[in-house]
Amino acid sequence: MGILNLLRRNSFEHGIHPQQHKELTCRLSIRRLPFAPVLIVPLSQHAGAPAVPLVRPGQEVVRGEPVASANGFVSVPMHAPATGVVESIQLMPSARGPKTESIIIHVYEGSSQEVLYSAPRDVGSMTAEDIIQAVQDAGMVGLGGAAFPTHVKMKPPPEHKVDTLVVNGCECEPYLTCDHRLMLEQTDDLLAGIHIVMRALGVERAMIGIEDNKLDAVEVIARRLPANSPISVHAVQTKYPQGAEKMLIESLLGRRVPSGSFPSAVGVSVFNVSTLAQIGALLPMGQGVIERVVTVTGPGIRHPGNYLVPVGTPVRFLLEFAGSTPQAHELILGGPMMGMSVASLDVPVTKAVSGMVLLEASDADLRERKVQPCIRCAYCLEACPMHLNPSTLGLLAAKGDYETMADQFHLNDCFECGCCSYVCPSSIPLVQYFRIAKAINREKAA
């Protein structure tokens, strides 16, 4: 790790520079949030099949105990985030929209909330297969927001030879600082997790990519690495969406993931820092994912901070703890570029929720602007990290020509980062058009 790496501006083409707003929380240490009286644990917090409940109403559960088991390979189990009693298993609102089956746990007020359920083991003697199984047993999903079961990513297709683990510490979403704090405060867990995943993948090197607005994290990690470490840490340019895996791979390695392929096609596996830190902390203890760091921030929040939040904590509880201003107007789970705004305060924080951003009415004003015709300014073409043509895609969407969008204009390469909508001076809701187009194409194909 030389100073050269700090100076070189590793980056990708296109992208945008939204205001960061990270100063609200980037200096605030991670604090534990108290337990809410009732926790809501959805059985489907991940991509893939919902978990199968192992408990029944009235049953007492101990913090850390499995309460639902994985249903197949692309699925993960759930663990009790607190000691208490299962009140019911019922449909509850979720951030994504449709109601999902959830385990409702009444938390025992007097309990010490000690994690009693654990099965310590020597990670050093585990085989790759064992590690992958242990990662699934821990209920690990991509904590950066994708919520894809982590163990599945540790088993790339056999025809792809993975040689590099890319560690994603970009945190390119404005406002969010949970990964930043975690890199500073849980560095040892992170490095332990990297070593574990490197062994499972059988790779010789790992590269940590961190946006250069977090040079303190680069320094802290670099200081922890021995001279001949297979792990290297690199500052990459602060630019949205640097943390998108295809962008980060290009920035760090200069490899371009082919259109329609996964990173393993170019020999890379990408893991988020918070996922790796949890693997490093939980795997040796044989524990499951029961909490995560959530950045609670935004102009509408009175006491912004990085909170360690039990999975299943209702958003309402978090909001009351952090306080909101009367001008609060829009509540977003995740980051403001790709997160979801929620309709109900009764939705729970799930494993993939990295932030809760509360915007005020004045922030929303910008988006109230009337939609005007496309003036072909081409700002969106210069912003799109996938080198698409959002302008023409938008005109096609307005005509309802969804097939042409997919067949000739690479609609399915769009990962909805939001750059085009962000820059559009005509305020055309491009990303929303593309989401609708993709959904309709999927329906037609089904």
Binding site: G339, V423, P425
Partner: protein
């Protein structure tokens, strides 16, 4: 404690940059104002009247067409002001005001409203209007007056105030009595084409020549272009491409015969090329949206302008070159779609 919160549901992204269509258009107007000011300074109150008439007629026309088509009034997006000013700047200083009004109505009606308004027009509306009067009033549109006449701030050029539907008077005698020094009424392009007299580049640069109201000072036009390019409200590749295309096309001819053909510097700074390259070819709506397409489009305009100038019957070709460029720009965009990230056939980048 119950949290009472009125929250709204929206789809991502939840952030938005502040630049709007109005802002872009307003800034183009800002960049045009110095050009207008110099035009008035060089040619006097006739040009002031000309710019006022084209701009007001365009704005009124847009309001009227919006009302006729039952659409909300779009004059407040400022784009029509650009059309009005540009149209005025491309006309001869003494152009009869009633003809200018005709040009403005055609510009906004045929060039813009007919296609569906801002964003849907195929060609630059101002140039559509100018092309119409070029065909309709061939004499008036080629009647030039010298710049910096003594009485320009106190007296209208006689042709300016021609009664509607009447032909303007000949200006020869008036120019004779109005002028005090050796400023010529012939444009540099005409002097070069028909008499092989090359106007010094310094005069062209600062605007000490005859010509259309707003095309004479390359310096002020370039300054406006730099302002827009720096604010990313104009694609810098378009003027660069147009000028490059024009310079490269004229160079071999000048090398072959430097008496018959003008030098590239003269080509760049004379006539409407600079105004066209900076303010008209760069019209966002009528230029291709793709980065590679922009280069093809702008080079095409530059090349075509010179070909028309050297071999056509007209002294100036930039207007038709831009209109043709506008016409083929959807086609250019179609064949120059950007290459998607990770497209097949592209190896790893180093």
């Amino acid at each position: 404690m119950e949290t009472k919160l009125k929250i709204e549901l929206r789809t991502s992204p939840h952030l938005k940059q502040t630049m709007t269509v109005e802002q872009i258009m307003r800034n183009v107007v800002y960049a045009l104002l110095p050009v207008c000011a110099f035009a008035v300074y060089a040619f006097g109150i006739s040009v002031l009247a000309l710019l006022t008439v084209t701009t007001l007629t365009c704005a009124l026309g847009e309001s009227l067409f919006c009302r006729l088509s039952g659409k909300p009034n779009t004059t407040n997006d400022w784009s029509i002001v650009i059309t009005g000013l540009l149209l005025g700047l491309t006309l001869p200083p003494g152009f009869p005001l009633w003809m200018a009004a005709v040009a403005a109505v055609v510009a906004v009606g045929l060039g813009k409203a007919l296609f569906g308004g801002l964003g849907y027009n195929v060609m630059n509306p101002a140039l559509v209007g100018r092309a119409f009067v070029q065909a309709a009033f061939p004499v008036a549109i080629t009647t030039w007056t010298p710049a910096f006449l003594d009485k320009r701030f106190t007296e209208f050029i006689p042709s300016t105030l021609t009664a509607p539907f009447m032909q303007p008077p000949a200006l020869g005698d008036w120019i004779e009595q109005a002028r005090v020094d050796a400023f010529s009424g012939a444009t540099p392009l005409a002097l070069q084409k028909f008499e092989q007299i090359i106007t010094p580049a310094s005069d062209l640069f600062t605007g000490m020549t005859a010509g259309s109201a707003g095309e004479t000072s390359a310096l002020i036009i370039i300054a406006g272009g730099l302002y827009l390019a720096a604010r990313r409200m104009m694609d810098w590749r378009i003027p660069v491409g147009v000028l490059l295309g024009a310079a490269l096309t004229s160079l071999p001819f000048w090398l072959m015969d430097s008496v018959q053909y003008p030098d590239p510097l003269f080509v760049l700074f004379s006539g409407g090329l600079m105004l066209g390259a900076v303010f008209m070819a760069s019209d966002m709506v009528a230029s291709p949206v793709t980065p590679r397409g922009v280069w093809i489009y702008s080079l095409f305009i530059g090349v075509l302008t010179v070909i028309i100038r050297l071999f056509g019957g007209l002294t100036e070709g930039v207007m038709y070159a831009i209109l043709l460029g506008n016409a083929i720009s959807p086609l250019i965009a179609t064949v120059t779609q950007p290459r998607v990230f990770g497209a097949a056939g592209k190896g790893p980048r180093t």
